[in-house]
């Protein structure tokens, strides 16, 4: 299955696209998600390592699971207001 990952701000600018795709056979952890995206886009690996991760519109942390059907996003610390 293909997981679609939304990216925002610096990540979107550096990726050159608002989404990235990742082929998944089943659930992975947030930590694995960062690593897999980094393997696929080595020039962005450092950004992915520091990025915030949201799964289904909620912050998600290293050991939490990501399903291929989840709504997933990576972005830098927020700077709104």
């Amino acid at each position: 299955m293909t997981l679609t990952v939304q990216v925002f701000a610096t990540l979107k600018e550096r990726a050159g696209a608002p989404t990235l795709s990742l082929e998944l056979a089943g659930p992975i952890t947030v930590r694995e998600l960062r690593a897999r995206l980094g393997e696929q886009h080595p020039e962005l690996a450092e950004l992915f390592a520091r990025a915030l991760v949201a799964v289904n519109r909620e912050f998600a942390f290293d050991h939490e699971a990501v399903q291929p059907t989840d709504e997933v996003a990576l972005f830098p610390p927020v700077s709104g207001g």
Binding site: L52, A54, F75, P76, S79, G81
Partner: protein, 152 residues
């Protein structure tokens, strides 16, 4: 108990008069508004304008979380608006508004407004791109959420 909550991501200019009217219930005699504006000068640093982008679906959910946290801490607040503008904004323009109405100014209205903007700037996924005479840069925040920042 009638309370009013307005949560909004909008591309339209922020109208403080309309927000004040919208959140003030008949029980309220005190309204505190925080509004962030585009700062043009920071020391010698010049900003021409700002462009704001949001992860809109999550931003609305996190605005709701800020509202719920605020109401748990400031139970005497009756009216509340959390409005984040997105898109391009010029120097001096309001980019965000936190509007709090309560019966009396001592009912936590000032503290609630401060809590609302502090928390919005921590957990609501919105980013600004700063445009200067010599180029533009995405601004990154400095707050890293922890599991405590999840909605309850």
């Amino acid at each position: 108990m009638d309370t009013i909550t307005i949560l909004r991501l909008t591309r339209d200019p922020i109208d403080l008069n309309a927000l004040q009217r919208a959140v003030t219930t008949p029980r309220d005699g005190a309204v505190v508004i925080f509004t962030g504006t585009v700062r043009g000068q920071t020391g010698a640093h010049q900003t021409s304008w700002l462009a704001y982008e949001a992860y809109e679906a999550m931003a609305l959910e996190k605005l709701r979380q800020v509202a719920e946290e605020l109401r748990a801490r400031f139970p005497l607040v009756h009216g509340l608006a959390l409005v984040q503008r997105i898109g391009e904004m010029e120097v001096g323009e309001p980019t965000v508004a936190v509007v709090v109405a309560a019966a009396h100014r001592g009912d936590g209205a000032f503290e609630a407004a401060r809590y609302g903007i502090d928390r919005l700037k921590q957990i609501v996924p919105v980013w600004k791109r700063e445009v200067r005479p010599d180029g533009s840069t995405w601004v990154e925040g400095d707050y890293f959420p922890t599991p405590h920042d999840k909605a309850r």
